[in-house]
Subunit: 329 residues, 2 copies
């Protein structure tokens, strides 16, 4: 089968398409004939990971496709079932193995392109806002990087028709903010032009944000602290703005009784991911069927055009997901 | 009635006994004839609080005693009922008003001295370990300041007969560690003689502490970080070791997916305190009746000896609570 790996850890030029044997699923896995896969930041981190040694892995952590080989422990996932889900690498490929508990059965109405745009960003947004952020109706959530895949997913999950939260979204471009507004943000802030902390307090009459989705880290520290409401939950899921905070005042955190929760989805256990996936499939997938929420797709590229896909993500050009169409090889 | 206030914000010498009118409870409050009260660090903070203006408040945030005047909304708290609970100041007094929802009905077998030793420290320990720390059986909890009121309460609440957690306690004196061991700590560490982070990893075979009760803050930052288990909950309830942490690595927190939760009990809403009190009364008070856990009392002093009580707490002499006997005025 055709698959993308790397010549050695490094830049985009290291990406290479190779021939690999079709993988063998274990008893708890299914083999998926991949129809679409998607690009995630973790793929770029893996591509550059100097600690990796040859033979290098097939990149890619989420796919949509058809069950080619079923698991004896999951009779409901028959061969031919249309699924999407997160895989432990190996997604940029014609065939991928997936822990069966992570399979989301796709509604008939949903395309494989849309299916591949859902797992990583929507599960991350769901876990972050609800499992960690404990976001409740009428609370205010501050969503940074509103144009990102997780950002656009989070805005939709928090929106009127699902959670009925008050949504404040930040981004660095007008286009991204317009998309945020269109999919449910109540207020948008261009962080390049305005002090987002001041605007958050203004938009909430001084209350602040009950939940903060922080992809940025160090460079936003003071402003997020200022933006947070008393008893706020501040969820750190990325450090695009640096990881080292020069000075942290525990006293200031205590004055607001803040909870700073840090998380990563990728390294969590299969059990955790399976539980998260099944809750998400049960609670949220029906909203996709009713077209109340939609995966946000920036571009769809052919399988042999993967380097362009990585370029778009590194250039931060995308609003929503970058999808690779594997179907027509 | 006799009550203790301050001449002006400052040291122990500013404490002064005065005559004040008996307070009038609102419809949601009860009037308590105080039998015992206790000294808390928050009383010292209030005593020194330069932002206060005359007339200065009566100090003291917890009492035990008898319902002198009932609340129409709480018929179960008849006049004559023996209660203990947290008050909004006004505890160092012959009479105090208490929001009725915060009253813990004392078992007949429990003295007022013991009753006054329970609310602040046991409710704080309960809230911190279970509501915030989500401590589960077989998990490991690291309890600093093991000799403090909250520390001794936390050790008992986490112990075999109640939670069955694995308890590691730290303190700076052998006597305090012996008490910790006697009331349920599985391992004790003298932080003056040993690196507690190394010992925690040793005692947990490298797993670390799932829950950390941190009264210390800045000066323990690195060691607490090293002591924490993956998915650990690190609860900051004091900053005796300083509030300003230099250089915090969000990346290190993310690698362990840590939740840093900061809290203060005193400023929380009446609703919150009432809910906490009622859950505690329901779940934990029976263990006091069965003598499975006991309030730990360091000293019992007469009402006119309050200055000595403040001296003992400032000198950090106490293992357990410092109680003021108001009964025999």
């Amino acid at each position: 089968m055709k698959a993308w790996t790397i010549k050695e850890p490094g830049g985009i030029e290291q990406l290479i398409m190779v021939d690999r044997p079709i993988p063998e699923p274990t008893e708890d896995e299914i083999l998926v004939k991949v129809e679409s896969t998607a690009v995630n930041r973790t793929d770029i981190i893996t591509r550059e990971d100097k600690s990796l040694e040859a033979p290098y892995p097939i990149l890619g952590v989420e796919v949509s496709g058809v069950v080619e080989k079923a698991s004896p422990h999951y009779p409901e996932l028959k061969e031919g079932t249309r699924v999407a889900g997160i895989v432990n690498r190996g997604g940029y490929s014609e065939y991928a193995v997936m822990p069966a508990g992570r399979a989301i059965v796709l509604p008939d109405s949903m395309s494989f392109i849309d299916g591949a745009a859902i797992p990583e960003v929507f599960l991350t947004a769901y876990q972050t806002m609800f499992w960690l952020g404990e976001l409740k109706p009428q609370e205010t959530v501050l969503i940074h990087a509103a144009g990102s895949g997780v950002g656009t997913a989070a805005i939709q999950l928090a929106s009127r028709k699902i959670t009925d939260a008050n949504i404040i979204a930040t981004a660095g471009s007008q286009r991204k903010l317009e998309v945020a507004k269109a999919i449910g943000a109540d207020f948008t802030i261009n962080y390049k032009k305005e002090d987002f902390a001041e605007k958050v307090l203004e938009y909430t009459d001084g209350h602040g944000a009950d939940v903060i989705l922080d992809f940025v880290g160090a460079s936003y520290w003071e402003k997020n602290l200022k933006s947070a409401a008393v008893d706020g939950r501040w969820i750190v899921i990325g450090t695009l703005g640096g990881s080292e905070v020069e000075k942290v005042s525990l006293g200031q955190l205590m004055q607001k009784r803040l909870s700073l929760k840090t998380t990563l989805l990728t390294p969590r256990s299969d059990e955790y991911k399976a539980e998260l996936t099944q809750e998400f499939a049960h609670r949220i997938v029906p909203f996709f069927e009713e077209d109340i929420i939609q995966p946000i797709i920036h571009s769809v590229l052919d399988f042999d055009n993967l380097k362009e896909a990585h370029r778009q993500m590194e250039a931060d050009e995308n609003t929503g997901k970058i999808i690779i169409d594997v179907a027509d090889l």
